[in-house]
Symmetry: C2
Subunit: 149 residues, 2 copies
DNA sequence: CGAAATCGTAACTAATTAAGTTACATGAAA
DNA sequence: TTTCATGTAACTTAATTAGTTACGATTTCG
């Protein structure tokens, strides 16, 4: 799993889980989907469990299941549960008392607040169901073209 | 200079330059503003020079000047010149041929394109002049309160 | 009950990235 | 021609994150 791909890797995993709603998938299986190992998977999606997006169960036959219907799981929620920051730049003061810095941070934070609100709104309108639908469309297309050839 | 603070550090530097439009500031001086060293400054703002946002001159009396009026320098341009990415998540394929991954990346890239456009528009409406105005407002306020006390 | 399967998590290692530093060549001004 | 500056390469250090190992806790199955 590459750096900064926690969101896309997690979505990948979740689509697989959505495609097998009745069947718990183990960390081991999920790990192979995103070419990493089980511990990284558990660590990465631990926050999703806390948010109720997925559930996990231990022991024989255990593993991971979606916590609710894909229609009710938005990308905004997933991103938040991963602790992903939408905007990457820092506005931590480094020279307390410097008025120039204060002005810069004030303007940048205003922008950040507005931008994060905007992005969160956009992301809350995309659900896991949209992703599975896109996947199935692609899957059907491949099926058709295979027949055609 | 902390991680991820390249944008705010650069803005800090640029406001100082805007406040001394006739006087070239050296990398050394700029470095002290943001608590780093001259080489880091040169490296960081090299892209701004290429974009015409600042100019640099060597030798005695040399240093850095704004390339144009603060009103004509937008945060969008500055961010672009720094090579800063607005959205931090990666959508590099890691499993070429996997339809699930393709669906995830497609949706995520659609979002990214729309989001980046939106953010760039917002940032293009904020100029360096807005920052210097904010700084001066703060400066005047301190002056007033100093008198009052 | 005991064995096997599975998650939860701590602790450590490795890889990656970005900042910091040193060094020196280039160019401009006094 | 000396001094002051940038430009840039090369190296070192620090911080972050992924990967790994290990093991305890929990659950199911025989």
């Amino acid at each position: 799993m590459k750096r900064n791909s926690r969101l896309s890797s997690t979505l990948h995993i979740l689509v697989h889980m959505a495609e097998k709603p009745e069947h718990a998938l183990t960390s081991e299986q999920l790990a192979t989907f995103i070419h990493t190992n089980p511990v990284v998977v558990r660590r990465t999606i631990a926050g999703l469990r806390d948010a109720g997006i997925v559930t996990s169960s231990r022991g024989h036959g255990g593993g991971w299941l979606l916590g609710r219907a894909p229609e009710n799981i938005s990308l905004a929620e997933i991103g938040a549960a991963l602790g992903e920051t939408l905007l990457p730049f820092s506005t931590e003061p480094e020279s307390p008392g410097c008025l120039v810095e204060q002005a810069v941070i004030a303007v940048l934070d205003d922008f950040r607040i507005a931008a994060e609100k905007l992005l969160a709104e956009k992301l809350s309108r995309i659900t896991l169901a949209d992703l599975t639908a896109d996947f199935r469309r692609r899957y059907d297309l491949i099926g058709v073209s295979s027949h055609a050839v």
